[in-house]
């Protein structure tokens, strides 16, 4: 879908929106969504790292393990997540769930997100 290149002409100079440019802007736009999505998913159901990667992928958010594991630990240090070692399985696994603070943060960020959506829609553009 993004294989094609978008062209626009301004005073005899043709600008092309290359895939590279799209990728960099998209990354900029997505920055921070991984944290919000993780908090939301872990508020619905406690989980450990790799399973959360799968759940994030299902909703279209790709994140690598070597980014997510450190992210979860940082969110825990900020008091937004709590963790428990689940020892019932073959080997112990660290299960995270969203704390009260985390849930308040989700509410705040969701409002910002909605406001942003409203603004972008209102601005419109071709």
């Amino acid at each position: 879908m993004f294989g094609l290149q978008y062209c626009a002409q301004h005073s005899n100079v043709i600008y092309m929106v290359t895939e590279e440019i799209i990728a960099s802007h998209r990354q900029e736009l997505k920055r921070g969504t991984a944290a919000l999505a993780s908090l939301s998913l872990l508020a619905a159901e406690a989980d450990y790292g790799y399973n959360l990667i799968g759940r994030l992928a299902e909703v279209g958010i790709e994140i690598e393990a070597n980014t997510l594991y450190p992210l979860l630990r940082r969110l825990e240090k900020q008091g937004l997540l709590t963790s428990d070692w689940d020892t019932t399985e073959a080997r112990p696994r660290k299960f995270y769930s969203t704390s009260e603070d985390g849930i308040s943060l989700i509410e705040i960020l969701r409002k910002d997100w909605d406001a942003m959506t409203t603004v972008i829609t209102a601005i419109g553009g071709k």
Binding site: Y48, G49, Y50, N66, P70, R73, R74
Partner: protein, 314 residues
């Protein structure tokens, strides 16, 4: 010791003690989880371990992601300050060291070319030291979060640079002035001469005091400092005009008396070196021409500095 143990050891090496156990456990379960994902792809467990570890990448990078540490010696917070300080301090100190070493070596009686090599080597060493220690200081600041610079204000905007006042021009001027000062100091110290027909013939007049040459060298060194300060400010000021007047007056005061008395250049060497054919060469005339050049140059220098100052004020 398994690959996993070695990986974890490498990852937590720089981690603060109070977080070590925590991060270690986290990375261990991350490795095991990653291995589990790739289970069934390969038979050999050690191969599986290798796949997982290579997927996770450089352990130190992983640890810095955990700690949210910047992977840069000097990050964006300090980079510009580091660049500015390093540039200016190196540019200010290097020429002073160069001339200082040259004069010191010449005064100690070293041959001219050895003195020049000495000066180049010492200047290089000092410049490298300055850059190194400044970089160390900024790297420490980056890690301790120490900040000594205030918020940027418009007062920090560099002065507009006129086309005639670029750093490159200033450097060329400084090098030229430094060489001139070095040659004059050398001439004063060694009183250069040539041997002709087993007679020693001096280049300068025997009555010319070496202090005249030292004095001329001193004006060039002061001029060098003036040029450096001006290029730092990137703008001509009233001080530049005053300095030009004083320095040119000093140069003329030093050079004109021996030139007018025809006791600057030795008169012997024309006859001895050039032979009888040139016996008629009038060195008195040459003295007068050089004196005229000194005066005209002095007037031109003061006038052009004043003009640049006037132009920069508009």
């Amino acid at each position: 010791m398994t690959l996993t143990d070695r990986y974890i050891a490498a990852a937590v090496r720089g981690v603060p003690a109070d977080q070590k156990a925590d991060i270690e456990a986290d990375i261990r379960s991350l490795i095991l989880d990653t291995m589990e994902v790739h289970e069934g792809e390969v038979e050999d467990p050690e191969h599986l371990e290798r796949i997982a570890l290579e997927e996770l990448g450089d352990p130190e990078r992983l640890a810095s992601t955990y700690l949210d540490r910047e992977l840069a010696l000097i990050g964006p917070r300090y980079f510009l300050e580091w660049k500015r300080y390093t540039k200016w301090i190196a540019l200010l100190i290097a020429p002073i060291v160069a001339v200082g070493t040259l004069v010191g070596a010449l005064a100690a009686g070293e041959p001219a070319w050895e003195s020049v090599l000495d000066s180049i080597a010492t200047t290089g060493t000092v410049a490298v030291q300055i850059i190194f220690w400044l970089t160390v200081a900024f790297a420490i600041a980056e890690r301790t979060g120490q900040s000594w610079s205030g918020k940027w204000t418009v007062k920090d905007l560099p002065e507009p640079t006129t086309a005639s006042l670029t750093m490159k021009d200033a450097l060329v001027e400084v090098v030229g002035l430094g060489l001139g000062a070095g040659v004059l100091l050398w001439a004063g110290l060694t009183r250069p001469s040539v041997h002709i027909n087993e007679a020693r013939v001096e280049f300068f007049h025997p009555e010319l005091n070496s202090w005249v040459l030292y004095g001329l060298a001193a004006t060039l060194i002061v001029q060098m400092i003036v040029v450096l300060i001006r290029s730092l400010r990137a703008r001509y000021s009233g001080v530049d005009v005053a300095a030009s007047v004083v320095l040119n007056a000093a140069t003329l005061a030093l050079a004109l008396p021996p030139l007018f008395n025809h006791t600057f250049f030795s008169t012997d060497w024309t006859a001895d070196v050039l032979g009888e054919k040139f016996e008629s060469v009038d060195l008195g005339m040459a003295h007068n021409v050089v004196a005229a050049v000194f005066i005209l140059f002095g007037i031109w220098d003061v006038a052009s500095t004043a003009y640049q100052w006037w132009k920069s004020k508009r």
